[in-house]
């Protein structure tokens, strides 16, 4: 029954309500809760700052967290930390919303309604561990368990590897999209083949006079953006009397490209050609320090400058100008970035770029290329280097053919992060039992039978060796800044408890009572080193300082020159990029790029990051398709028109942003949105361009060529307005939403 209220009655009611409200007591009742057991040295109302490590991306910046009355309130950069020196990026700031996220799992759960049902039944931890132990004990062969990891704290990687090897299984397979977009795996392989050392090089940007960045978004997400931005600031403030010179090669104007002195909208896959041509010209014309050229002339034997100019669509005169700029500078660096690694010819292009540093003798010189010096921290550096896509494909095949009975997943979300064509979703369905350690129900955890949620990073212990490192040998430590909010449990402790129950070899390999015991033993190895920024009288006071400082680092910088004595002198191959999709039916290159806020999608459940506008387009809370004005008019679409982007492997729909900063033959879409699961802020918002990507790999490195897919575009005739602060057409501020 509905009762209609007349206007007169409504007014009477309103007047009555106002009088009654006015009479209500104006005193608020407020509950004042004391500590049950106060933490030591806590002064009510005064902030305590705890030092720890940011875990929003693999860089490993040092953080300090302001805690009042047991609640974490604000994250800042650790001013003493040699990597980020007190600075922090937007993602690092937003970490608080992981801790307080309303969609966190609050205890161990069993997906009782079957996989994908999202019907969860809470479990006591003892029951959950029983299941895990039972699954491990009943395996017919230890090789039938696989551990798939993403961004893992180093101590957990160490414990997991020990656990698996003593159990007789193979090491964890590490793969995540963020690392793939940065080209971590290809970069490590390149360093190994050139310098004999499988690690990420450090580019001394602060002291460089000229930087040629080939697809390296070093001010946004690539490698260690906070420390690189800091170094870039130093370079710009003219250490050497000038303001430095940055040339950025990328098909799209990224925020890094926008900070450059020159942006070259390079044809996708042609970056290597430019580097080869520049090298060849330097040699031919004996530019710069000609004395250092001789050993490298053989590298450029196969290069024809005119051919390179034609292939890259960059005129010979421009290439000559770049060669001169690069060779004439006292300190010039060329950086092979993630954009290169995502091409079918990525390995050779990256080699061509790194060769420029050899040619200009910039390896191991101020303003050049270094490796990070482990010093006394060598024992900590069993760092999980992300594996190649090819490695992961082997696991996917094994899963499909029924060779895996138990899959354990930590810190990665392959169902979302891998191209649909990689077939992970089908493969996981053929694994009899899947256990996830995720704190959230993401796309992969939704396909698990059991979820054993780890604490968030602000509630947990650990350490990380920053990679790429800083100029000082460093280890960042991680400690809980607040007590765990819920009944979650650290995965390290879960492994140790399981090892104890399994007994025998596994228990012997993991003798620690908990992870803190393990960490304390490891950290105090550094006690007594004369190189440290601090030292303590006893191991236990060292452990206190380790937590107080947020890690350990040396007092002075200790540079490490890469060893180039073993470089094989052979011509650099000129390899053509290969693309998936016929040019006639798929005329555009798809350029997926990591979002500066959501990165590879792991930030999509944090509203602060969703609401932070993209620096170039000012769009927030959604996915958009960037089209050159020329392309847009040829398709007959305008701003906010929804288009369908179709690749041979899938399609998505999103509104158009007309963007002059992109090549007409390229379509750019940011990565990060399009989650089906992952909490209320991420779900059913935007689309995931990675789903469209072909699973082709670079034959040199085995990395996913995520930039080598062609697409076509169809207008849908619909419009959907994006939430953005400003339009690029100069229309000034517009409303959000």
């Amino acid at each position: 029954m509905t009762k209609r209220v007349s206007r007169r009655d409504f007014l009477k009611l309103t007047a009555g309500a106002t009088v009654v409200t006015g009479l209500a007591p104006s005193v608020r009742r407020m509950v004042l809760e004391p500590y049950v057991q106060p933490p030591e040295e806590v002064l009510p109302g005064e902030a305590t700052w705890y030092a720890s490590t940011c875990r929003l991306c693999p860089a490993g910046c040092g953080i300090i967290v302001r805690v009042i009355n047991g609640r974490a309130k604000k994250i800042e950069g650790n001013p003493h930390h040699p990597l980020n020196q007190g600075k922090l990026c937007a993602r690092g700031q937003a970490g608080l919303q992981i801790l307080y996220n309303p969609d966190r799992l609050k205890n161990a759960v069993l997906q009782s309604g079957g996989r994908g049902s999202l019907k969860f039944e809470p479990l006591y931890w003892s029951e959950a561990l029983d299941i895990l132990v039972d699954k491990l004990e009943t395996l017919s062969n230890p090789n039938r368990v696989a551990f798939l990891g993403g961004l893992m704290p180093s101590h957990l990687y160490k414990l997991t590897t020990r656990f698996l090897s003593s159990f007789g299984s193979s090491s964890p397979i590490i793969y995540d999209l963020h690392s793939a977009l940065e080209g971590r795996n290809s970069t490590v392989q390149l360093s190994e083949s050139l310098f004999g050392s499988p690690e990420l090089p450090i580019y001394d940007l602060a002291n460089a006079e000229v930087i040629f960045s080939f697809g390296a978004n070093f001010l946004e997400t690539w490698m260690s953006p906070v420390s690189q931005s800091h170094a870039f600031g130093t370079m710009r403030q003219g250490q050497l009397g000038g303001r430095g010179f940055l040339v950025h090669f990328e098909p799209r104007l990224s925020a890094t490209a926008a900070s450059a002195d020159e942006w070259i909208p390079i044809k996708p896959g042609a970056e290597g050609y430019v580097a080869l041509a520049i090298g060849r010209i330097i040699l031919e014309e004996r530019l710069g320090q000609a004395s250092s050229h001789r050993p490298y002339s053989i590298l450029y034997q196969n290069v024809d400058v005119q051919e390179m100019a034609d292939a890259s669509q960059i005129p010979v005169e421009v290439l000559h100008r770049f060669a001169r700029i690069f060779a004439d500078a006292d300190q010039a660096i060329a950086i092979p970035g993630g954009g290169l690694a995502g091409q079918h010819n990525g390995g050779t292009s990256m080699l061509a770029v790194q060769a420029l540093n050899l040619l200009s003798a910039q390896i191991g010189r101020v303003g050049g290329v270094f490796l990070s010096q482990p010093g006394p921290t060598a024992g900590f550096r069993q760092n999980p280097n992300p594996g190649s896509f090819e490695n992961l494909s082997i696991l996917i095949e094994r899963m499909k053919s029924g060779e895996i009975d138990l899959l354990l997943i930590y810190g990665t979300n392959p169902v979302f992060e891998l191209p649909t064509s990689a077939g992970f979703a089908e493969a996981i369905a053929s694994v009899p039992y899947v256990i996830s350690f995720s704190q959230f129900v993401d796309e992969t955890a939704a396909r698990a039978d059991l979820i054993l949620p780890d604490h968030t990073y602000l509630e947990s212990w650990g350490y990380e060796v920053p990679a790429p490192g800083a100029a000082k040998p460093a280890v960042s430590s991680q400690q809980p800044v607040v007590r765990p909010l819920y009944d979650t449990r650290s995965t390290g402790d879960v492994l140790l408890a399981v090892a104890e129950r399994l007994g025998g070899q596994v228990a012997n390999a993991l003798p620690w009572s908990d992870e803190v015991d393990f960490l304390q033993e490891l950290a105090t190895e550094l006690h007594g080193s004369s190189l440290g920024a601090y030292d303590a009288k006893t191991p236990s006071s060292f452990w206190a300082l380790w937590r107080q400082y947020g890690g350990w680092w040396t007092e002075k910088e200790i540079p490490r020159e890469p060893d180039i004595s073993t470089i094989v002198q052979e011509p650099i191959p000129v390899s053509e990029p290969v693309f998936d999709g016929e040019e006639n039916s798929y005329p555009y290159h798809l350029h997926p790029y990591p979002s500066i806020t959501l990165s590879d999608g792991r930030g999509a459940n944090l509203p602060w990051l969703q609401g932070a506008p993209d620096p170039m387009t000012t769009v927030c809370w959604g996915t958009w398709v960037e089209l050159n004005p020329e392309t847009a008019s040829s398709l007959g679409v305008s701003e906010d028109d929804v288009v369908r982007v179709i690749s041979p492997h899938g399609e998505l729909e999103a509104p158009v942003v007309i963007y002059p900063g992109i090549r007409p033959d390229v379509v750019a879409i940011p990565v990060g949105q399009g989650h089906e699961q992952f909490g209320r802020f991420a779900e059913q918002r935007g689309s995931n361009p990675i789903a469209l990507v072909a699973s082709i790999t670079d034959p040199e490195t085995g990395s996913l060529a995520w930039g080598a897919t062609r697409v076509r575009i169809e207008p849908t005739g619909r419009k959907k307005s994006l939430a953005r602060l400003e339009s690029l057409a100069g229309e000034g501020r517009e409303s959000i939403g």
Binding site: G22, E33, P34, Y35, L43, P44, G45
Partner: protein, 171 residues
């Protein structure tokens, strides 16, 4: 006739407002009901100093309220048969904080700091009244801005500029 109604309505509103003001005042000074019948008087008469239980006004913005652990420090042995004390013990055992109701409250836009007030030589009872005589704790002064300023503007010339500044309390 209409006029009669209007006067009637006017009187009603005036009475309502006056009643509201009185009720609010009564509410301010009324002692809120606490989860445990705690008596300050008993504790003060036993010789316990304010700063024993509220330890931080000399070094922090807040005076602090005692942790449940602190209560149990004495009540492990003292008056353990009292049902109210048993209630305190049960909070402690279950690890739950006691949900005390705040008696003295400043709104969110006021940044009050105990430390400088004690530093200036004020006693607890200047603002909180003679809590030692209260069986049930209640507010004795309405801590509004006029009351704060009564004191802040009656200071020496070199202090008054700083103390009467808006930003002294509204940051």
């Amino acid at each position: 006739m209409k006029r009669f109604w209007l006067i009637g309505l006017f009187i009603l509103v005036v009475v309502g407002v006056i009643a509201g003001v009185i009720l609010t005042r009564v509410q301010v000074y009324a002692a809120p009901e606490q989860p445990i019948a705690y008596s300050h008087q008993v504790h003060v008469e036993a010789g316990i100093q304010c700063l024993f239980c509220h330890p931080s006004p000399l070094k922090s913005p807040l005076a602090g309220i005692p942790s449940v652990q602190k209560c149990m420090g004495c009540h492990n042995v003292i008056d353990t048969d009292n049902p109210e004390i048993q209630q305190v013990a049960s909070y402690y055992e279950s690890g739950e904080p006691i949900p005390w109701i705040r008696v003295n409250l400043q709104p969110d836009f006021v940044y009050f700091n105990h430390q400088p007030h004690l530093g200036a030589g004020l006693n607890c009872e200047t603002c909180h009244g003679d809590v030692g005589q209260m069986d049930v704790t209640r507010q004795t002064v309405k801590m509004d801005m006029g009351w704060c300023l009564d004191c802040h503007i009656n200071q020496s010339d070199e202090k008054v500029g700083r103390l009467a500044d808006c930003l002294a309390c509204h940051k």
